[in-house]
C-alpha cells in the first residue's frame, strides 16, 4: 500500500539544519496495524506527516499506492489525500466553534458530499464511536477520551483506508486511552490500515508490528503477537 525508499527529511531554519528523517525504508501493507516508537524528537511525527501526504520528503522516494508522490505539489497531495487518509492527533484538534456533528461532517463538506449522504455517514461514524448522544455538544463540553473518539469518527467518516494517529493516547488517562486503543484495533479488524505513533509500550502491544526510530533512522522492527486482541 505504501512504500518508502531512502526517505530523507531535512528542516532548515535560521541556518540550523535538522535531519529529521534519514534513509527511512519502510513498507506497509493494506490492513496492517503498525506502531512507531522512539524518543522525543527522533522524527516520528515527521514520518507520519510525510506518509500522510501533508509534507514532502527532502530526498528519497515515496510510493502511495502506485504513485510516486515525493515531489507532488501541495494541491496534488491534497487531492490524493482527501477521503483516503484520516488523521488522529494527540491534542484532538477539534474545532471549538463547531459541534461534534459539525466537526465530523467537515471532511465530507470538503469532499462535496450531498447533505443527506453527509447526515447518514456522520451518524454512522458517531454510532461506531458510541458518540451519537453527544452529537450536538461542543468539544469543550466533552472529556478528553470523548473528544478523541469524535476525532476518530472524523478520521473515518469519509471511509479512509489509512489512518495515521500521532500519540492518540498522549493526552488521556489510561482508562480513556485504552478505550481509544480498542476502537482503533476494532477499525483495523474491519480492514483499515493504521499507523500510530506512541510512547507507550502498552499501546504498542495492540499493533502487529512495531518500528523503533532513533535520530531519524529505523533501528529495529519486529512483528509481534497482539496481547490485547
Amino acid at each position: 500500500m505504501i512504500k518508502t525508499k531512502n526517505l530523507k527529511k531535512i528542516y532548515t531554519t535560521d541556518e540550523v539544519e535538522t535531519t529529521a528523517l534519514d534513509n527511512v525504508n519502510l513498507q506497509i501493507k493494506e490492513g496492517e496495524f503498525c506502531a512507531i516508537m522512539g524518543p522525543s524528537g527522533c522524527g516520528k511525527s515527521t514520518l507520519l506527516n510525510v506518509l500522510g501526504l501533508l509534507d514532502n520528503p527532502t530526498e528519497g522516494e515515496y510510493y502511495f499506492y502506485e504513485d510516486e508522490v515525493s515531489d507532488y505539489s501541495e494541491r496534488a497531495r491534497a487531492r490524493l489525500r482527501k477521503g483516503r487518509v484520516g488523521f488522529v492527533f494527540q491534542s484532538f484538534n477539534l474545532i471549538d466553534e463547531l459541534t461534534v456533528f459539525e466537526n465530523v461532517e467537515l471532511p465530507l463538506l470538503y469532499l462535496g458530499t450531498s447533505t443527506n449522504k453527509r447526515k447518514q455517514k456522520v451518524e454512522e461514524a458517531l454510532d461506531r464511536m458510541n458518540m451519537m448522544h453527544r452529537r450536538n455538544h461542543f468539544p469543550q463540553q466533552l472529556s478528553g477520551g470523548q473528544q478523541q473518539r469524535v476525532a476518530i469518527a472524523r478520521a473515518v467518516v469519509a471511509d479512509a483506508s489509512l489512518i495515521l494517529a500521532d500519540e492518540p493516547t498522549g493526552n488521556l488517562d489510561s482508562d480513556h486511552g485504552d478505550e481509544v486503543m480498542k476502537l482503533l484495533a476494532e477499525l483495523n479488524e474491519q480492514g483499515t490500515t493504521i499507523v500510530m505513533v506512541t510512547h507507550s509500550p502498552y499501546d504498542a502491544d495492540y499493533a502487529r508490528r512495531v518500528i523503533h526510530l532513533f535520530d531519524g533512522s529505523i533501528v529495529t522492527e519486529k512483528m509481534q503477537q497482539g496481547f490485547h486482541v
Binding site: 501541495e74 488523521f87 492527533f89 484538534n93 467537515l106 471532511p107 472524523r154
Partner: protein
C-alpha cells in the same frame, strides 16, 4: 513599577511590529486630523481678534428694501458726522465706500490685483492698522490722498520712500492721481476685509457719485454704551435727514459676529463648515482609537498568560489598569511625531483646497503644547481605558482557563468599532460622490443660453468704456468672432445684481422687483437666448424711448399667461417689446427670477461679451488681442470664458468636495488598517483551526471564504446603517440648490462596492497568507 510597565510595553511594541505600525499610524492620522481641525477652528475664531478695541467695535447693518426686505451691510453714510459729535456713547465712526479701479500706474508700470476702497482717517482710530509711515492725525483728511499697505508700497516703489509719491488709478470716468500720505502694516489675513489701498473719502466729494449710497459703516463705542439706543438714533437720523423711508431698522453688529455673519464681507466664515470639519476630525480620531482598542483587546488573549501570572503574583486591579493605560499613552506618544509630520505636510495642501491660510506659527505658542499634551492624554485614555478595564476585570482563573472567553467578551465592541469604521467610510464616500454628481449636474444643466466659446471682456480703460460701438465694430469685423454685445454688467455670473422695482398699473399697491441688466440689441443673439414672442429691442443705442425684453418667469410674475399679451405695455416708462425664454442668470442655487432686460441708454460698455466662431479658439483670442492693441487701450485685455465664470460660482462646493473627499480617503485608510489588523489577528488566532481544516481537505478558497464571511457580514450591516445617514446629510446639503439631482441608489451601491472591494482585498490578503501556510507547521505550534 512604572519602568517595568514601560519596558513591557516597549517589548510588546517591538515584538508585534505589524500591529504596532497599524496602531501608531491610525492614531497619528487621528491626531493629525484633530490638530488640523484645531488649527482651522483657531484660525476661524481669530478673525478680527487682533484689534485692540475689538470689544467696542460695531458694524452698522440696516433692514429694508422695496419688495424683498432684507438685512444689509450697506447703508447711508450720512449719519457719521452726527454720530461723532452728537450721540453719546459713540467714540468714533467711519464710513467706507467702493471707489477707484485697477490698474494702478506708477511711472510706466501698471499694477493689478490690488483692492481699493475710500475711507476716512477715523478708520485707523477704530481698527488697529498701525501706521508705519505718515502722520497719524488725518492721513486721509485731504482729497486725493492715499494710504497703502506695506507690501503694496514695496511692490510699487521698492526701496524708495513711498510718502509723497504719486499713484494713478481709474477714478469715476477718468484717471486720477493720488498722493501717498501713509503706509500701514499689511492687514492680517484673519480680517474680514482685505484692502491694499485706502483713498480719502473726501476725494469723492468732487464727483457726482451718491455719497449716501452703499456705505459700509463702522463705529467705536464707549465701554458701556447702549447699542440699541444708539441704533435708534442712527435710524432716526437716516429717516429724518435723508428721508429714506425704506430703511426700517438699524442694528449694531459686534465685530465678533461680523466674520461669521451671513450678510457678507470680503472674507466670510461659515459655521456650518467649521462644524462639519470638527465632526469629521473627531470621527477620524475615534476611528484611530477604535483601531487601537480593537487590536489591543484582540491581542490581550495572547498575553493572557502574562496577565494571569501578574494577578496570581498579587497585582491588584488598579495596578493592571495603570499598566495598560501607560501602554496606550506610550503608543500615542509614538504617534505624536508622525502626526506632527503629517500635519506639516498636509497643511499647505489643506490651505489650497479648504481656501484657508492657516500657518504653523502656533508652534511658538505655549498653549499649543499644552493642547498637544491634552490631546495625547485624551487619545491615550480613550484608546486605553476600555482594554484596561476589561482585561483587568477578568478573574485570573478565567484568564488561565481559556482564550475563548476573552474573545467573545469583547467581540461585540470589536464588531461595533469595525462597523463604525465602515459606516464612516461609506458615508463620506457617498457624500463625496453625491457632491461631485451635483457639481457635474450643474455643469451639464442647460442654462438657457449657450455658454460655449463665450468670452467676457472687462473694460478697464475709462476712455474705451465710452466707445462701445467702436469696439463692437472692430470685433465683429474679425472672421473668428461670430457675435458681440456690450453691456454695463457682465453677461453671466454675478450678472446684474441690481433690481428694478415698479408699481403695477392695475393694482396700485403691488410692487414688483425684477433683475435688471442693461443690454444692447445684440445681447440675445450673442448669448443664444431664444425669443418667445415679439421682437428684439431695436438698435440705435441712446434712443429716447427705452425698450425692454422680459423673460417667461417675468410674464407670469406680472400675472399674464400668454406672452403676447404683455407686448407693447409700458412698465416704468419702458416699453416691453419682446419675451425671451427663461435662462439662468446667476447660479442653480437660485430659482429663475423675473428678468427685465432694458436697453442700455447710458451706452457705456463696461463689459463686452464675444462669441467666437466654432473651431479655432486660440486664433479667436489672438484676434481679440490684436484688436485690443489697435484700439490703443491703456490697460491690457482682461477676459474670462463664460464657462469659467459659471464655474467660479461653485468654488465653495468644489473646496468642500476636496476636503471631504480627502477625509473620506483617510477614514477608509484607517478602516482598512483596522480591518487588516483584525484579519491578521483572526488568521493568527485561527491558525490551528485553519491547519485542521486543511488537513481535512479544505482548499485555499474555502479558507479565504471562511475568514471573509465575518467581515462581509459586518460590512453589510454597516452599509444598511450608512445609507440613511448619507441620504439625510445629502438631502440637507442639496437644499442649497433649487436645481438638484435626485439621490438614486447608484451612488450608494458604488460607495458600498468600493468599500467592499477594498475591505475584501484587505481581508483576502491576510487570509490567503494564512491559507497558504503548510498545516504541518500550524499544528506543530502547540
Amino acid at each position: 513599577m512604572f519602568i517595568n510597565y514601560i519596558k513591557i510595553a516597549w517589548r510588546n511594541l517591538v515584538n508585534n511590529k505589524f500591529f504596532s505600525i497599524i496602531n501608531i499610524t491610525g492614531l497619528a492620522l487621528g491626531i493629525a486630523s484633530v490638530l488640523l481641525c484645531f488649527l482651522y477652528i483657531q484660525h476661524e475664531l481669530s478673525f478680527d481678534e487682533y484689534h485692540k478695541k475689538k470689544d467696542r467695535i460695531y458694524r452698522i447693518t440696516s433692514y429694508g428694501g422695496f419688495n424683498a426686505k432684507e438685512w444689509k451691510v450697506y447703508t447711508s453714510g450720512n449719519p457719521v458726522a452726527e454720530m461723532r459729535n452728537n450721540v453719546s456713547g459713540v467714540e468714533d465712526a467711519a464710513r467706507m465706500k467702493r471707489c477707484g479701479g485697477e490698474p494702478i500706474t506708477v511711472g510706466d508700470e501698471d499694477y493689478r490685483d490690488v483692492e481699493i476702497t475710500c475711507t476716512e482717517s477715523n478708520l485707523f482710530n477704530i481698527f488697529s492698522f498701525p501706521l508705519i509711515a505718515g502722520s497719524k492725525n488725518g492721513v486721509l483728511d485731504t482729497p486725493f490722498a492715499a494710504v497703502i499697505s506695506q507690501s503694496t508700497a514695496d511692490r510699487l516703489f521698492g526701496d524708495e520712500n513711498p510718502i509723497g509719491q504719486s499713484i494713478t488709478l481709474n477714478w469715476h470716468e477718468g484717471r486720477e492721481d493720488f498722493e501717498v500720505t501713509g503706509v500701514i502694516k499689511d492687514i492680517p489675513v484673519n480680517s474680514h476685509f482685505k484692502y491694499d489701498v485706502f483713498l480719502s473719502y473726501k476725494s469723492l466729494e468732487s464727483t457726482p457719485i451718491c455719497l449716501d449710497c452703499g456705505n459700509l459703516m463702522y463705529t467705536l463705542l464707549d465701554q458701556d454704551a447702549d447699542t440699541a439706543a444708539i441704533a435708534d438714533l442712527v435710524l432716526d437720523h437716516i429717516r429724518e435727514i435723508d428721508g429714506k423711508e425704506y430703511v426700517e431698522d438699524i442694528r449694531l453688529q459686534p465685530l465678533d459676529d461680523v466674520y461669521f455673519s451671513s450678510l457678507g464681507a470680503q472674507r466670510q466664515g461659515s459655521w456650518q463648515y467649521v462644524q462639519v470639519i470638527t465632526l469629521i476630525a473627531l470621527v477620524i480620531l475615534a476611528l484611530g482609537c477604535g483601531n487601537y482598542i480593537n487590536l489591543t483587546t484582540a491581542r490581550y488573549s495572547q498575553r493572557s498568560n502574562e496577565i494571569g501570572i501578574r494577578k496570581a503574583i498579587g497585582a491588584d486591579r488598579l495596578q493592571l489598569i495603570r499598566q495598560f493605560l501607560s501602554e496606550a499613552l506610550l503608543v500615542t506618544l509614538f504617534a505624536l511625531p508622525l502626526a506632527l509630520l503629517l500635519l506639516e505636510l498636509s497643511l499647505p495642501w489643506f490651505n489650497i483646497y479648504a481656501k484657508t491660510q492657516i500657518s504653523l506659527n502656533v508652534v511658538n505658542n505655549i498653549w499649543f503644547y499644552v493642547a498637544l499634551l491634552c490631546l495625547v492624554a485624551i487619545t491615550g485614555i480613550l484608546s486605553g481605558i476600555y482594554p484596561a478595564l476589561y482585561i483587568s476585570g477578568l478573574q485570573s482563573q478565567e484568564i488561565l482557563k481559556g482564550k475563548r472567553d476573552i474573545q467573545s467578551g469583547s467581540g461585540l465592541l470589536r464588531k461595533g468599532l469595525v462597523i463604525l469604521q465602515f459606516v464612516a467610510s461609506v458615508v463620506m464616500l457617498t457624500v463625496t460622490a453625491l457632491i461631485l454628481q451635483q457639481l457635474q449636474y450643474i455643469q451639464q444643466k442647460n442654462l438657457g443660453f449657450d455658454s460655449d466659446k463665450l468670452v467676457s471682456i472687462k473694460i478697464d480703460d475709462p476712455a474705451l468704456i465710452r466707445q462701445g460701438n467702436a469696439i463692437k465694430q472692430e470685433l465683429i469685423s474679425q472672421s473668428t468672432i461670430e457675435a458681440v454685445t456690450a453691456s454695463a454688467t457682465p453677461a453671466t455670473g454675478r450678472f446684474a445684481r441690481t433690481r428694478f422695482t415698479f408699481q403695477s398699473d392695475s393694482i396700485p399697491d403691488k410692487k414688483y422687483t425684477f433683475v435688471n441688466p442693461r443690454i444692447d440689441e445684440d445681447f440675445i443673439r450673442t448669448m443664444g437666448i431664444p425669443l418667445v414672442a415679439g421682437r428684439n429691442i431695436s438698435s440705435g443705442g441712446a434712443t429716447k424711448n427705452q425698450e425692454a425684453l422680459i423673460n417667461e418667469t417675468g410674464v407670469k410674475a406680472l400675472g399674464f399667461h400668454d406672452p403676447e399679451d404683455i407686448l407693447g405695455r409700458i412698465i416704468g416708462r419702458v416699453e416691453v417689446v419682446g419675451v425671451v425664454k427663461d435662462f439662468h442668470i446667476e447660479n442653480l442655487r437660485k430659482e429663475i427670477e423675473p428678468v427685465f432686460l432694458r436697453s442700455n441708454q447710458l451706452n457705456r460698455a463696461y463689459f463686452v461679451t464675444v462669441r467666437l466662431t466654432a473651431g479655432n479658439i486660440s486664433e479667436g483670442l489672438d484676434d481679440l488681442r490684436s484688436v485690443w492693441a489697435k484700439l490703443g487701450s491703456s490697460s491690457p485685455l482682461n477676459f474670462t470664458f463664460a464657462n469659467d465664470l459659471i464655474q467660479q460660482q461653485y468654488e465653495q462646493e468644489q473646496h468642500t468636495v476636496w476636503v471631504i473627499g480627502i477625509f473620506a480617503g483617510i477614514s477608509i485608510l484607517i478602516a482598512c488598517m483596522g480591518v487588516l489588523g483584525l484579519a491578521a489577528f483572526t488568521a493568527q488566532r485561527r491558525t490551528k483551526e485553519i491547519g485542521v481544516r486543511k488537513v481535512l481537505g479544505a482548499t485555499t478558497v474555502n479558507i479565504v471564504a471562511l475568514l471573509g464571511k465575518y467581515f462581509l457580514k459586518l460590512l453589510m450591516l454597516s452599509f444598511i446603517i450608512a445609507v440613511p445617514i448619507a441620504w439625510y446629510v445629502m438631502g440637507q446639503w442639496l437644499q442649497n440648490f433649487s436645481y438638484k439631482i435626485e439621490i438614486g441608489p447608484g451612488v450608494f451601491l458604488l460607495a458600498g462596492g468600493i468599500i467592499l472591494i477594498i475591505a475584501i482585498s484587505t481581508v483576502s490578503w491576510q487570509s490567503i497568507r494564512a491559507a497558504l501556510v503548510n498545516p504541518v507547521k500550524s499544528l506543530r505550534m502547540e
